[in-house]
């Protein structure tokens, strides 16, 4: 089974100050698959993830070179329209950050800054995306309550729905379950499994068991380098690298 490449990363180096945090990254992210970037804390997973939608731009001390080709365009090119690019990649962060407004407006915010404003369309979208993350039944009677009143797990699902509402092609998730309880974590994982047929999903995690549960494709990183990457089944059953083997056996956790 041959996968189409959604994002092709080549010769990517990243420095923070004088420290090399990403060292010659060459990897392809397959389309409509769930790719897990696995590795211990501080190995550059998050930096790699955030360089894909150029959130790294917010930190001038971060210097990146190389190329990240997304649909035949090098997104590291200075003329890339960054808001447009980011819209195509939803982000789910470690801790849910609902926007300081109502549940309803959290979903419509992305649409409204994008220009679509028909009231009926918005209502439909809100229901559609809240259903997609299985949140609709829990919140349908209090759509105009502040989003901050939801539980953390609900907030994270709201953040996912909010990201889906702007019609991205890719979902980037940075340790999306690390602040959640086991039940909420499971809900998020199940949503990912449901969504991966329609979206390309990239999840950063250091949790081995989570990677086993959800990954189609694994990128294993250690100290800024990609140690091994490949289909998940292959990686877990027959890791080629000693370090990867040790990680899988739990020696690093």
């Amino acid at each position: 089974m041959e996968n189409t490449t959604k994002i092709a990363i080549s010769n990517l180096n990243c420095h923070i100050g004088n420290k090399l945090v990403l060292d010659d990254i060459n990897v392809n992210i397959p389309e409509r698959k769930l790719t897990v970037i696995l590795g211990p804390s501080g190995c550059g997973k998050t930096t790699l993830l955030k360089s894909m939608n150029r959130l790294t731009d917010l930190y001038p001390e971060v210097k990146i070179d190389g190329s990240i080709v997304f649909d035949n365009e090098d997104i590291l090119h200075p003329r890339t329209e960054i808001p447009q690019l980011r819209k195509r990649m939803g982000l789910l962060s470690q801790q849910p950050y609902p926007l300081p407004m109502s549940i309803y407006k959290n979903i419509t915010y992305g649409l409204r800054i994008g220009g679509r404003q028909q009231k009926a369309t918005l209502n439909g979208r809100v229901e559609q995306y809240l259903r997609q993350v299985s949140l609709w039944d829990e919140v349908k009677d209090r759509l105009h309550d502040p989003a901050s009143a939801l539980s953390i797990g609900q907030q994270q699902r709201l953040c996912l729905a909010r990201g889906l509402a702007v019609d991205p092609e890719i979902i980037l998730a940075d340790e999306p379950t690390s602040a959640l309880d086991p039940v909420s974590s499971k809900e998020i994982e199940e949503l990912f499994l449901k969504l991966k047929n329609r979206y390309t999903i990239v999840v950063v995690t250091h949790i081995l068991r989570q990677a086993r549960r959800i990954a189609d494709y694994i990128i294993f990183m250690y100290l800024g380098k990609i140690i091994e990457h490949g289909p998940a089944a292959e990686f877990f059953e027959n890791p080629k690298n000693e370090m990867a083997k040790a990680y899988i056996q739990g020696l690093y956790n």
């Binding site: 917010l58 950050y97 926007l99 300081p100 109502s102 915010y109 800054i113 009143a149």
Partner: protein, 287 residues
Amino acid sequence: MKKKLKYIEEYFFRGIMFASTLFIMIILLTLIGSILIKGLPALSWEMITQTPKGGFYFGKEGGVLNAIVGSLYLSLGATALALVISLPLSLFINVHLAGTKWLVNSIRFLLDLLWGIPSIVYGAFGFTIMMYFGMRTSLLAGIITVTLFIIPIMVRSMDEVLKTAPRGLLEASLSLGSTKSETAYFILARQCITGIITAILLAFGRAIGDAASVLFTAGYTDYLPGSITDPVATLPLSIFFQLSSPIPEVQQRAYGSAVLLTFIILLISVLTRYFSYRYKKQSVKQL
């Protein structure tokens, strides 16, 4: 033996803390009490609805409406004008410049310097500008001077709140495809609304309470301003002029004016807090 020393130490320092708290409470109560005792008898309907009449400064009829209206015009005008400059500036340094630390820190340092300059210096500066343009003492000149004087206060107070906003919230908003400016105005300002209102309030309090910056620029008059080029009276100066009078009735009215000034600040403070409460619930709490 050692243990006993520890107890004495504890009592000693606790005593000091308690004494300082008590001291400041007593000062505060005495201050408010003395203004109320001296000022309340002087307050009357006439005091707040009339401008000074012929014999006002000899203790005869009239009120300080000129100063109340002047102070409100001046400080509301200056606060509004300062807000128009301060909100964009503080959002700009916290969103657009956020990564460029040396620049943000230099701007903060400059603002802190400006904050430290005494208001009489702003008054003198405003006066120089007026002279240059050939303006007379007027509401406009007063507003401009007070605006300059409260901008650093407003910007730095907003800045202190904005910089505590979680970075992840900015990233979340940017990831939805909003630009930095959309993020600043729609998300960050909203997240920090209570702090922003407090900053506005603080600046307003400084604007309405300051005498030195308006002394040369807004002037003083017994009449209500007809336009922004007319001089205006202000409550602090009204207190000053009445208090310098040798006549006891006039002095008592000075305390009456002080009560009014305190009351206006208190009223606006309570009102704004009430309205900002609504928005506070929407803000993201950090884990």
